[in-house]
Every structure is written in structure tokens, then in C-alpha cells.
């Protein structure tokens, strides 16, 4: 009914954190500019990882919002959600947001967390040149 709103809300919060993190990283980069680049261990900045999460959440929420429009659950006039016109439907909608919506946000965040761990491991792994075949 409106389960995508939970992911959309999380996306807004993550976007704000991402912007803050970008500023912090920019300041840190200026202060650490004297350090030799060769000594710095390669790693993916947190702001970039947060951007992945934002994109997953926003992308999913937009396409799910379209599905809700398709099913007539979201309308272009106030109160925008058809479930809001009836108290029983509103209660059902809130229950769905608390169960399905929260589960969606949790799964996406969990997948993103695993994705970050795998990405960190890949970045630390030395690049191996593919063996050349002898003609």
C-alpha cells in the first residue's frame, strides 16, 4: 500500500549522512595531503559506499511507487494514498509499512553491508595479470 515510503525515508536520511561524510572526507584529504600517497592503503571512501545504498533505496522506491500507481494505491491528488481515505485501510497500510516496508529497508541495507565488505576485500586483493598464452 505504501511500503516504498519506508525505503524512501531511509534514502533521504542516508543521503544527508552521505553529504556530511563527503564534507568530512574532503577536509581530511586536505589535512592529509602531506602524507605520501604510496603509504596510503587503498580503500573505498565511506561517502561512495553510502551513495550505493542511496541509489539502491531510491531506485527501488521509485519503481515500487510506479507499481503502486499502477494498482491505483497512489493517486495524483490529496491525500495521494487511497488507503488514507478510510481509517481501517489506514491502519492496514501502517501495518504493511511496519512489516513489509521495514523488511525491505532492512534487506537492502543488509545486502549493501555485504556488498561493502566484498568490495573492501576486492580492493585490498592484489591485481593478478591474466596469463598470456604462447602461440
Amino acid at each position: 500500500m505504501a511500503c516504498f515510503l519506508v525505503s524512501a525515508a531511509e534514502a533521504a536520511v542516508v543521503k544527508a549522512v552521505e553529504k556530511h561524510e563527503e564534507k568530512v572526507e574532503a577536509q581530511a584529504a586536505v589535512s592529509e595531503s602531506a602524507v605520501n600517497e604510496a603509504e596510503v592503503e587503498p580503500k573505498i571512501p565511506m561517502s561512495r559506499k553510502l551513495k550505493w545504498l542511496t541509489r539502491l533505496l531510491i531506485g527501488g522506491a521509485v519503481l515500487l511507487a510506479f507499481e503502486h500507481v499502477w494498482h491505483g494505491e497512489v493517486v495524483p491528488w490529496f491525500p495521494f494514498l487511497t488507503a488514507m481515505s478510510d481509517p481501517a485501510d489506514t491502519a492496514e497500510m501502517l501495518h504493511e509499512m511496519a512489516t513489509v516496508g521495514v523488511s525491505m529497508a532492512v534487506l537492502i541495507t543488509a545486502v549493501w553491508f555485504v556488498m561493502c565488505k566484498v568490495a573492501d576485500a576486492l580492493v585490498k586483493k592484489p591485481v593478478v595479470e591474466p596469463e598470456k598464452t604462447i602461440a
Binding site: 511500503c3 516504498f4 525505503s7 550505493w52 541509489r55 539502491l56 533505496l57 531510491i58 531506485g59 527501488g60 522506491a61 521509485v62 519503481l63 515500487l64 510506479f66 507499481e67 499502477w70 512489516t99 513489509v100 523488511s103 525491505m104 534487506l107 537492502i108 545486502v111
Partner: protein, 103 residues
Amino acid sequence: MTLLITVFAAVIATLTWYNRKNDDLKIEVLCFMYWGASLMWLIDAIFEFAELKADYFAPAAQDMLNDAFLGLAVVALGLVIWVCVLLIKDPKGSVRAALKKSN
């Protein structure tokens, strides 16, 4: 059906991203969008399965057709959003070059 179509779209987008020559086409936008939607519909499917049990796998033909049509519409919307992002961000500078052209 919508979940299946979106998962296929996500896999195709990811393989295209993996084989990319450069980042000019911003394929990652498509990947994140389709994977995000696929994960969300997966949860939807799990909750629906918990409610319907085995009946979940035997949908009515009309429902399946509607879901397939919705899945294709979702893929099309994703592509439209991707093209819009591509034109706005313009990583190759093609749009700017076309606009600056005198004729």
C-alpha cells in the same frame, strides 16, 4: 512475474556493466535501480507466499498477464530514468557539444 522480469533486467544490466569499456553510459544507475526494486519485490513475494502458501505459485492467467505487463512497464520506466540521468549528467559531453554547435 514482475519480480522475475526485474531480476532478469538487473542481471542483464549488471553483466553489461561488468563488460563496460568506460563509465560513459552510467550503466550502474540501471544496476542499482533494478537490484533495489528486485530486493524490495522479493520481500513482497516472501510475505505473499507466507499468506498464500502453495497457491502463490499458481496465479490466475489474468493476474500473470497483468504482472508481466507491469514488469515490462517497470523495465521501460527504469530505462527512461537512466536515459534522463545520462542526458542530464552528460559524461561524454555530447549534449553540451550539440547545444554549443552554431547550427
